[in-house]
Symmetry: D2
Subunit: 314 residues, 4 copies
């Protein structure tokens, strides 16, 4: 049985796993990312791959997933916000070091592929995957295949503008969807609320060590779990924006299902119903069309490794 | 050489043409649409097809294009705003009447396919076609094939929300893109301007018989051609909203090219440059990605017939 | 008992009345406005005043009300949108013709004064009067006196911006309050609704001769009186914007009462309750302050004549 | 010559000064505010007044200024956000303790009165004073007198809504002017910018100890003084919103001058010109009216003491 290795290259750590044809991870390793130096980053990837390969002789290929723009040949990372990669020929560099064929993919695409093959998207040929983390990552499955667009940069729908002259975004524009529907948006909402109404936000402030300025998404989530109404209000806002954006994507893509993944999927029990409601309210042609399903991702944080490994096999 | 017939079923007229494998129309007929009565509409389509088939013995199939939602089997029109069709099994009805295989497609999809095969999209495998008419129609080409989505309702991107609590839309929502970027939006802009500043809008009012209330997109276009600054201001607004929406689509689809068709493409010389500029300003990751081309449709009003006919051949 | 004459100078007609100290109109005359020619306009005013004065020997002064900017000396109309007056020394011109002292006032200010003295504002020293007509006219009473501002142009609050980048306004700006809360706004709302959803707006279209483009505030009002839900939806929108704007004015002026006058006050039974509700929802400090009363004007279309006449007596 | 004492009761400190008829402060004392306990707060005020009175035998009255809603009789503080006062009869409490007549006034009103009598508003009978501090405080002078409104709560124009569904405000509403034009707004703008673009905001982050979350208005001001373009961009935003809001106030109040005070007036050299420009662009009827002057406050942080003292003399 052939094995492949999936690597998730993040800004702070590199994680790599040996994955079999059923999407099971046989072994997993991780180490810090030397993110400031492209050569060292390539070296760290090769190190993990080498160690796994030494243990698993049947490994035939490697898939890398990284946040950023990947070119359409899946060889070069054009731009990665959390790494020092600019037009980095990472495929070649890693292939030279490890002696195995390598494919590169955007990390959210890799996660989407993992879910499509082995997770919440099994059996559905038209999918939109939304990873709600720091920002929004996206992946699209069209007729059972990963959609990349003409130049490899598709599914960056966190940067659809949802509010003219809205909140600033790291991409340089204003009003991008991920500023309203993400873990950061949840914290933003909570901090705004805490600044203007500290009494109402008292529990979230307490969970954040007493300061309104540093409330994190985690603190909001914990407070929400406890039933804190201020935290639930923040969740409601994020859910409404998520559902609205999904309605906009449905107008374009009409998928069979949406898969909600990323860090916020850990609190899916709090988010899923309000997202579904907001989506149904907002989708165009409601009543004249079959609605897309809305599901929570199943593979958790390993989805990227599993997906990247499987893409290397294709 | 095999021929097919393409039919464009509009709210006021049905047009049908015999099309060869190179997308050339050999003969074309048209008649009014008996739009209130589904049976009569089917009869009118069959009548035109029958007359064309009598002249062209090599016709092997028929493609129908109509505004509305078409199911994923391309057999049933679920909902057509300008016709009396609700869950109308139009494929079966026309097949029974004409004795030829029939496929049904959304009209904007048919146009997109026509342009992709024989028009401005030739040679490009990833396309987004935008028809700026009364509203916005859309078509998406993925890897050389027409994208339909899971349930056949994809590419309805005229109903992406671009302004929260914005202008009302016929779909029941508010703030849909087609309320800001279309022939209707152009007229809307001009009427608003004329109501509040009739002096500045004098030329458009004059071209509309003296009334600000009934300014049409045509009057705005004529005034703009004459260099009227008020009309050009209206065009600028529509161009900016068009470019912004294209940027939102590029974030999701990253196409090789956008094709701008529909009634407004007749004034493409006034629109194209400001659309390109607005698109470049708004697209996320500008500078880190290869930009999508922006082109004007080439087939004009016949694109729908040509596209529907060719889809019947696939 | 001393009498004064109040004159309401509109774009289409001049109306003048002899008014006693209790605000009663003893006699009233009207004639068309020769609005294109400043001299003829002055002549028309003098003609009416002369005829009234011939019948009522006790007349001691004349008050003129006109839409536009009046300077702080109440002598010169700086700008009147519906007349040919630009820096027009109308006080001097009329005084020379009629041999009586003349004061000039903005028409909405005159109406406000009429209501303050003899109408819905009696007994209240701090008032904000809002005339909802074609646009919004305003008048402010401070400690029992008409507020004019430093240069005479106060109380033009129809041009407060309530929506950034909102609907165009005749003043050259965008998003002015009167574009959302006025008779014109009511018609705007109805036309937008009728364009996108003619079925839902069928009654208003029918009352307007079959065309969505020419629906008037009158048609909306009639339909609303009949209970038409589409018309009531338009009323609701105007009421919400009215109440919100009143909340903004209350933040600045904290009046004892708002008086709602102008053409829309004829349908006050439909508007008053939703306006009150929207105002209460929107006012800052709700619960920590005594709320301003909200009342409907009592003097009807004569308020301007009565107010102008009384101002001439002060 | 009669003397009065002005007291500025803040959330963290109480400051009191003896003021003569020319608005000069002869002596000033301050101490921390025991803000959680109404009795102790009254005691602290009485303590300072008693110490000043012991030194200045000619003191005849006391004026208190405090952030909050003051009733129209100037006796009771209905609500003070930074103190524990709710329907607090502070006038009576302090009079009993100090044996002098006391008047109470909103702190921004007191500042406005100080500037009107002895500062930037001298000689102008129609003024709007805007104190840009944590939020926006306001004061209005009408015909040479302080405007209080019917119930004493006028000039709270920081809570005019300028953006529908905009930023949260401590008053419970959204989109209030002070969320866009104040020291807090400046910090908000800078933090948003720093979160999404830390490189561009590097200098402001550095001045804030390395964290984007805790950038203060002070850090933005310092960076702006050094010419930092990111900080100047934040200033530009605040200036534009300030000028727009002033235009809205001018539509209602048409003052002879605006006085800009509060903490941000310390950086008036950076703000004044862009505010003036934004105001001129936004004011309705521009070109047909005499523009209000825009001036910087002259009395600095003592304006409240001077104004409160002088109000006690009236």
């Amino acid at each position: 049985m052939s094995l492949t290795i999936g690597v998730d290259v993040g800004g702070t750590k590199v994680a790599a796993g040996v994955v079999d044809e059923q999407g099971r991870i046989l072994e997993k390793l991780r180490r810090p990312t030397p993110s400031k130096n492209p050569e060292e980053t390539a070296g760290a990837i090769a190190d993990l791959v080498g160690r796994l390969k030494a243990e698993h002789r049947d490994v035939v290929a490697v898939g890398l997933g990284a946040a950023g723009f990947v070119d359409e040949s899946r060889s070069v990372v054009l731009f990665a916000p959390n790494l020092a990669w600019r037009d980095e020929p990472i495929k070649d560099k890693v292939e030279q070091r490890v002696g195995l064929p390598v494919v590169v993919e955007n990390d959210a695409n890799a996660m989407a592929w993992g879910e499509a093959r082995f997770g919440a998207g099994r059996g559905e040929r038209y999918l939109v995957c939304i990873t709600l983390g720091t920002g929004i990552g996206g992946g699209i499955i069209v007729d059972g295949r990963l959609y990349r667009g003409r130049y490899g940069i598709g599914a960056e729908f966190g940067h659809i503008r949802v509010v003219p002259d809205g909140r600033r975004c790291g991409c340089g524009n204003r009003g991008c969807w991920e500023q309203y529907a993400s873990g950061n948006a949840l914290a933003h909402e909570a901090r705004d609320l805490a600044r203007v109404n500290p009494g109402w936000a008292a529990r979230m402030i307490e969970l954040s060590g007493g300061s309104a300025e540093v409330i994190t998404g985690l603190a909001v989530s914990q407070a929400a779990r406890e039933g804190d109404p201020a935290a639930l209000e923040c969740f409601q806002s994020v859910a409404e924006w998520t559902g609205q954006g999904m309605a906009d994507l449905a107008a374009t893509l009409d998928p069979g299902a949406f898969i909600i993944g990323g860090g916020l999927s850990a609190v899916a029990d709090l988010l899923l119903e309000p997202i579904k409601k907001a989506f149904a309210n907002a989708v165009t042609g409601h009543g004249h069309r079959r609605p897309s399903a809305v599901r929570v991702a199943e593979l958790g944080p390993d989805a990227g490794i599993v997906g990247a490994a499987d893409l290397a096999r294709q």
